[in-house]
């Protein structure tokens, strides 16, 4: 493997006719990093991946590995010479070749000597726990085993970059978790630079060094799992990260207390107090102040897990009636309507989702408390956020 420090993708764009599947995608990967592309179906994850491999020609932009130009639309290294490895969602094993021959395929093309070849194939198969499967054909194996072969087939070549396109999505839930651990362990061990595509936030959080959240071909946020999880860049990322309670609010007052910004909000008739630990100079402060001055709408986002059933104490108390209770074992998912019977501008009542271990009966009344520091504030749309220069 040719050694390198960084792979950088600059302004990569892919258009299919009128449709822009990947829009101005720029990102740097350090060697050994595990980066995940996360986003809903159709957001351009696979297209971005295939553009990086060269399997899909890019419309504009550049890809560099240190000072080696991989692709700038005019000159490009063909996919077979990039030394990248790819694992496909449907495994894409060669059905007419045995497991051994599938894994040996790339080595044979590189004319590796026989003794070394079988040593390397054996090592790769051992790494994915498939000793003893060498003589089998892919169709005689389970989905999980096939995907392991696909991974072995790539890592045996020691690729500069390993790309996995939703490798676990055809597997059942249990196997998915199992193989996820194995991918993680394999990465810890081999430290191969990896791009992993998924629409499953749990997978992304569990595996990644960094997560790239995509929407309609555009990068929404790049950050560590904890950054993306607790400090989403906009409403879209928040929604994707499970902030289900998105309420329309107006800012009634703003004040500074001990380095944090405290906002009194009116959520369709329900008073809320939110505290934002935004540092001095954070651009979001200006946007919020502007919203307060003009009386513009904002949105709050709160995780169901962060809302608690109120005891004696607790701020932001809301009395509600449960409309739907979904038992999920350890906890229950509850949908409720606040008693204050506030209706939003479009007439629908505010909906409150929470997750709680306490037993709540359907139709029963109870009081919840929303911790003020768990309330996130956003401009009402991602475009508004972008226009206002809203960046965490």
């Amino acid at each position: 493997m040719k050694d390198f420090k960084t792979i950088s993708v600059r302004g990569m764009t892919k258009r299919f006719g009128e449709k822009t599947a990947v829009n101005d995608f720029s990102l740097e990967f350090g060697k050994g990093e595990f980066v995940t592309f996360l986003g809903p179906s159709g957001c351009g994850k696979s297209t971005a991946l295939n553009c990086i491999t060269g399997l899909i020609p890019i419309t504009s932009g550049e890809i560099w590995i240190d000072d080696e130009c991989v692709d700038n639309t005019k000159t490009k290294i063909p996919p077979e010479k990039r030394e990248f490895g790819m694992v496909f969602q449907n495994y894409a094993l060669f059905p007419h070749l045995t497991v051994f021959e599938n894994v040996a395929f790339g080595l044979r093309l590189r004319r590796v000597r026989k003794a070394e070849l079988s040593r390397r194939v054996d090592t790769a198969l051992r790494l994915v726990h498939l000793e003893g499967y060498a003589a089998k054909f892919p169709t005689q194996m389970s989905g999980g085993e096939q995907q392991r072969v696909a991974i072995a087939r790539c890592i045996v070549l020691e690729p500069r970059l390993l790309l996995l396109d939703e490798p676990l999505s055809n597997l059942d839930a249990k196997l998915r978790v199992e193989l996820r651990y194995e991918i993680k362990a394999l990465h810890e061990r081999l430290k191969v630079t990896t791009i992993y595509v998924t629409h499953d936030q749990t997978e992304a959080l569990a595996l990644s060094d960094r997560i790239v959240v995509l929407r309609s071909g555009r990068i929404q946020q790049v950050g560590t799992p904890s950054e993306v999880f607790s400090d989403p860049a906009n409403l879209f990322v928040a929604d994707f990260m499970g902030f289900k309670n998105v309420w329309t609010v107006r800012v009634k007052s703003l004040r500074e207390i001990g380095g944090a910004l405290e906002a009194s909000l009116d959520a369709q008739g329900i008073p809320l107090t939110a505290r934002m630990a935004w540092p001095e100079g954070d651009k979001r402060r200006t946007v919020l102040a502007e919203a307060f001055r003009t009386g513009a709408e904002m949105r709050t986002a709160v995780r169901p897990e962060d809302i608690v059933i109120a005891g004696a104490a607790g701020e932001n108390r809301i009395a509600c009636a449960a409309t739907l209770v979904e038992y999920q074992g350890q906890a229950s998912q509850v949908s409720a309507t606040p008693r204050l019977a506030a209706t939003s501008d479009d007439g629908s009542p505010l909906r409150l989702d929470l997750r709680t271990g306490s037993r709540i009966a359907e139709g029963g009344s109870f009081e919840v408390s929303v911790p003020g520091d768990k309330i996130l504030l956003f401009p009402p749309t991602e475009t508004a956020a972008e226009a206002a220069g809203w960046t965490p």
């Binding site: 496909f88 894409a92 060669f94 059905p95 169709t139």
Partner: protein
């Protein structure tokens, strides 16, 4: 559990009966009757005479060789051409419908119409020769018809579309990710074709070779219309025809048909053996 399975099997038999009856009436009975005829004399006495006469008479016996000389090369050409064409069109291309349309025409028109078309188009006074003369490619009209070439061209026009359409269906059914995977592992187009696509196409190639060969080996109308049925293109089916409808010896004609069937079977088995040698993996080419 087993009882249920058993009863479902027993239940299937009556449902299969019409199909079995159909097969027996349409296929097995004529074959068995032909075999019986070929092994008896006109009076119905058992005899190997029909076969001995066929293999003993050079005029009849050599038709096997004549027919193979026509059928084998053109089948190889048809399938050999169909493979690259199907490969290039596997992901669709502009004008694919038009191309397919023109390919289907010879199939829908039938042998006789195609032969007549060829006679006038490629005949000594046809457009093709006039064009070649005008371009000074030839000094005098080239003979495309009423010879070996005529029969072979007509079999090409008829057989190629079958081979092509069949293989096209076959290749476009191969999961496109396999090609991408091969490429990502370092294979160029050529290597990907020979190591991945071609092996996966082998079952399709085998089947289309068999069909094309059987079609070419039993050639009759174009051998009569476009060839020289008295000599160089006196194929085996003409020999059978002459015994049956000129000499009214159905026993001898049946023997020739049996020889035809045997040769076809031999070639098909050879192809299938080749196929199983080349393609060992499970014959599943799903889209994954």
């Amino acid at each position: 559990m087993d009882a249920v399975k058993g009863s479902s099997k027993a239940g299937a038999l009556p449902l299969l009966l019409p199909a079995i009856l159909f097969l027996v009436l349409l296929f097995l009975y004529p074959f068995a009757y032909g075999l019986y005829l070929s092994l008896t004399t006109a009076k119905g006495e058992p005899s190997l005479g029909n076969y001995l006469r066929f293999f003993g008479e050079a005029r009849d016996f050599r038709t096997i060789w004549v027919t193979l000389q026509i059928a084998v090369p053109i089948t190889l050409v048809n399938v050999g051409l169909a493979v690259p064409f199907a490969y290039y069109m596997r992901r669709g291309m502009r004008g694919e419908r038009l191309i397919t349309f023109f390919l289907i025409i010879p199939i829908t028109l039938g042998t006789v119409l195609v032969s007549e078309g060829m006679l006038s188009f490629m005949g000594p006074k046809g457009w093709l020769n006039q064009l070649l003369l005008a371009l000074h490619v030839v000094a005098e009209p080239y003979r495309f018809t009423h010879n070996y070439l005529g029969v072979v061209i007509s079999l090409g026009l008829q057989g190629f579309p079958y081979a092509f359409l069949m293989l096209l269906g076959y290749v476009s059914g191969i999961n496109p990710d396999l090609e991408k995977a091969s490429q990502m592992l370092g294979a160029n187009r050529w290597q990907t074709f020979w190591k991945i696509l071609f092996p996966l196409m082998i079952p399709g190639i085998a089947i289309s070779f068999c069909l094309n060969f059987v079609m070419a080996f039993s050639v009759f109308p174009s051998a009569v219309l476009l060839g020289q049925p008295s000599g160089p293109t006196r194929v085996i089916s003409i020999a059978a025809y002459q015994w049956a409808f000129e000499k009214f010896n159905f026993n001898a004609a049946s023997a020739i048909s049996m020889v035809m069937a045997a040769i076809e079977l031999l070639v098909i088995s050879a192809v299938l053996v080749w196929r199983s040698r080349m393609y060992k993996g499970a014959s599943m080419v799903g889209k994954g």
